[in-house]
Subunit: 212 residues, 2 copies
DNA sequence: GACACAGCATGACAGCTGTCATGGGACCGG
DNA sequence: CCGGTCCCATGACAGCTGTCATGCTGTGTC
């Protein structure tokens, strides 16, 4: 008999977390070694428990660690921080946003699943990832290829992200240390690339694609 | 020995749905009589199974029913459609938006829970609701009172909702059959009431409060 | 009826936003 | 080195947006 496959859950929705734990315990070779509700908690528990596989939600509050230093603010940053630690990571998300997939794989995760996938597929993914394979939701992979990569330049992305926080052009310019004219120009480029009518729609479209 | 408490689950996230089902089956007096992934499916299953309690997600795709007529498009509309049917309803939601609570109770639901509440509290809520009591997440209830009711008039809400779909003022005016000037005026009133700088922020704020 | 009041509709005006033309700097292949 | 290309920065201009003053309608009160 082989050693159990040790799984750690990290998701801020308590209901999903405990539900998933109950489901995974039904698999005889799985052992759920912990549940984390925040990014900081996830890192702590990984350190302490050294799980084989970490199931990680993208949208998750940062939480606080002992040191007081500012830790990761979402699941992708947690994955980034754990790169090279040997822990296999599957990123879970509510939204099948194509851009997330790209960023997730770039962050060093091994799997990517949406929350409306059936449980069997998640269980499969956990086993695959544990064997050193990758596990990507096929539907999402196709969508990701269809949408293509982020068409925005670094500066455009930065300005758009600042614009997403709201406020007038002057506010945005102050945040990114640019002149108002330059901010408007970058936003104009974004609006053109995204084929939308104004900055508000640009923010929405980019968010939907996971580009900001 | 009393009859089991028959529960129906409606949520588009398969993982949460089956996880929750597994958890509720652990309660000996509960029986999970079905799972629905869309609004239409939820109505069908309620008709067929006549559950005691329906757990209903707010964000849920409409789905298609036999008749072809356009059915409810979100959980709140499902609750509305089931008003007076005798089925007790608990609305579940990811976001603790105060406005949702108000609309939920107005739609005739008996309980309101956020998805990051612990399972015990949900189980409690199901039992309470089955006994004919109400079950509202206390934290959210407090927040709801603090935020207050929707300050927008009917027309303002309608225009803002049209504005949320994006596009220029002319587009919005065409959607709500008003002149551009009138649209701008309503939006100006909304912007004033919500203490924000422009229509984009107004849309965001109103959405966060569940007012549109 | 007279009145106050709230919501709705409209157009004029000032200011903010998106577009464009222009120019500077970094990088690459020839 | 040079031309080509890409990204970044800037200011002028036209058009869209938010504000305001004004008037209309329906409702409830006296």
């Amino acid at each position: 008999m082989s050693a159990p496959l040790r799984v750690l859950l990290a998701d801020d929705q308590a209901l999903l977390r405990s539900g998933l734990a109950a489901l995974l315990r039904l698999e005889k070779d799985f052992e759920v070694v912990g549940e984390a509700a925040t990014c900081a908690e996830a890192l702590d528990l990984v350190e302490r428990e050294r799980p084989d596989v970490l199931l990680l939600d993208v949208q998750m509050p940062a939480g606080m660690r002992g040191g007081g230093q500012s830790g990761p603010a979402d699941g992708l940053e947690v994955a980034e921080a754990l790169r090279g630690s040997g822990v296999r990571i599957i990123v879970l998300t509510t939204f099948g946003r194509a851009g997330y997939l790209r960023r997730t794989l770039a962050a060093g995760a091994d799997g990517f699943m949406v929350k409306d996938a059936p449980v069997d597929r998640l269980v499969d993914a956990i086993r695959r990832v544990h064997r050193g394979l990758r596990a990507v939701d096929p539907e999402l992979a196709a969508q990701s290829l269809a949408v293509g990569p982020n068409p925005l330049t670094a500066k455009e992305t930065e300005v758009l992200r600042a614009a997403a926080r709201g406020g007038t052009t002057a506010d945005i310019a102050a945040r990114v240390f640019l002149s108002e004219g330059t901010v408007r120009n970058h936003l104009s480029a974004v609006i053109g690339k995204l084929c939308v009518a104004n900055r508000a729609e640009a923010v929405r479209t980019a968010t939907e694609h996971g580009w900001i």
